[in-house]
Symmetry: none
Subunit: 190 residues, 4 copies
Amino acid sequence: MSGIRERPLRADAARNRARLLEAATEVFTTRGVGVPTEEIARAAGVGVGTLFRHFPSKEALLEAVMVRRLESVAARAEQVAAASEPAGALFDCFRLIVEQSAGKSAFTQALAAAGVDVHASLRGPSAAIRELLAGLLERAQQAGVVRSELTLPELLALLVGAGAAVEQLGPDPAGRERVFEVFLTGLRPR
Amino acid sequence: MSGIRERPLRADAARNRARLLEAATEVFTTRGVGVPTEEIARAAGVGVGTLFRHFPSKEALLEAVMVRRLESVAARAEQVAAASEPAGALFDCFRLIVEQSAGKSAFTQALAAAGVDVHASLRGPSAAIRELLAGLLERAQQAGVVRSELTLPELLALLVGAGAAVEQLGPDPAGRERVFEVFLTGLRPR
Amino acid sequence: MSGIRERPLRADAARNRARLLEAATEVFTTRGVGVPTEEIARAAGVGVGTLFRHFPSKEALLEAVMVRRLESVAARAEQVAAASEPAGALFDCFRLIVEQSAGKSAFTQALAAAGVDVHASLRGPSAAIRELLAGLLERAQQAGVVRSELTLPELLALLVGAGAAVEQLGPDPAGRERVFEVFLTGLRPR
Amino acid sequence: MSGIRERPLRADAARNRARLLEAATEVFTTRGVGVPTEEIARAAGVGVGTLFRHFPSKEALLEAVMVRRLESVAARAEQVAAASEPAGALFDCFRLIVEQSAGKSAFTQALAAAGVDVHASLRGPSAAIRELLAGLLERAQQAGVVRSELTLPELLALLVGAGAAVEQLGPDPAGRERVFEVFLTGLRPR
DNA sequence: CATGAATGAGCATTCATTCAT
DNA sequence: TATGAATGAATGCTCATTCAT
């Protein structure tokens, strides 16, 4: 998939880029997107100039962070989908995606954007998730384990909602389980 | 002449305060909390100085806006709760609260805060909602229409999640209905 | 002419605006347009914020400075033109304009712009100078004291050139006089 | 193998230096001295590092560009001076110098510096021009074709002025001719 | 009390210069 | 030696908050 970049990118440059993404993910997630770029650079152990060499603007950096997360989620979701028996795959992916995005509302909002307009670079990854879910939804509906009238946009909205609910609930495994139960039960035909 | 009045031309001041709250609600909701205070003052037809006379900081203004919304929601929820038959009251309130907060993620986040730490001034209104919901939840569970293992924090999380889902879905009445259906079905004992 | 502004502008605000223009004129002239905005604000005895309240960008400030200079030159040139006998008026104005712009290459460049494209706000003042000179040139040519084949753009170019020459020469009254002599002799029919 | 060479692959280095000067001349002339060094390096087809290896600072590069131009002008002016009959040589050189600098105000300003303080490296070339012009001026004055009271600094100032005038006029051969006519007539004794 | 001008810390971004590869 | 990635001081501009009018 990825791999072939414009130019191979020097070893140290690649490491700095990775560190920046790592640091930005961490900092944006824990402290919001309002943190100064300098903080992110410091967290990554580089100067601001380096940050701006790799990402032409703060917005571009945020975008790159989201792309990475979406790609990661899409990849894992595909694995899970492949490993599950057809009927349950949607439920497994639902859980996975929500758990991946737990505590990261910035990411949740990125996922939200899967349904609306979004920067070009986000189109790819979010489309991947979208298509995966579309397939899983159809299969689950044909298997009769998910309400037949539910559409893909509604499923995406429910994913976002579940992410928000889990984030709001905080770290309480049993509670989270009960919240999931509500969603998964609700998805089933009554 | 002279005369020491406690609150001389309080009428003007009260109107300005009301206008500011109105304008801030509108502007924060439609354009986010990032808008400069001057914009809000302009929208309210007053100078910035007046804004800061009524609210000591931008944050305080935001807080006041949220308090007002929460109070309004609490009031309506209480009416609805009183008017519904005991068993269904929770479901009616669930819908109401979510619908009130639709499209206002700032507010949703305020509601979210009902479960976690919050500024003193928000404690009151959110406690009111909290208590109302606690009562409704217990009654609904005793009536056997809501899963008996569900706790109040989980219910609050689900409210937040439903708000996020509805906001993400956008204006699609039928879709919104199906999303509600998922939540309300999920709340019921299986 | 000027006088009626959008709003009368509070006394202190007007003073700050004037100070800023004064300081900017001084600083841009002596140290070039590269000086930081903060320096200009400091020279004017105000904060940067005030500078940007009065002039939305550094460029706008530079423009305002140039407009002011051009207006001033235009006004004095008109006085001189009115006071001189028709035949010599062009020569008197030539000297005046060059002397006004001596040592201010930024301004000279602004004058230069009178012939080329320029921001809207500079159009007015530079057009005034242009028209004045057009009239004087024609009269001088009809009086037979200036080469009949010389056009207005060439006259403007010569003004710019004379400004540059005088600036280059530095403060040497006698030398400056001889330089003027060359220009004024050269303008006459051979 | 081994071997201590004074200048190992000097050919490459020399070519890079030449390319840099070429590119810098072009870029500074067309886009001003504000262009980033990286742009110049790119235009020369080398890395920034190479630029800074050859020229210790951006200013040094600008200086080298100006030296080259001045040397070139000096050389041509000497040819022209040698080829002209004594009386007219100054006029021919005047034209030549102005035409060489047309459209290059950076260079014009460099020439301007010939009269005032200047970096050490510019002293040489500008002194050459200066001396050449001093000789031509004296000869022309002795031949009675140039005002006897005109001094060398004034002549230099007029050269700068003529450059500015021609640059301001833009590409209009006939107009430029008339502007030259003014200067050359003005130089003659009345 | 209302007004809006003044303030200045804070921020994203640029660019000359250095240095690891 | 050439390269271009890294650096970080410097800059233009914003905006919450204060205070003179």
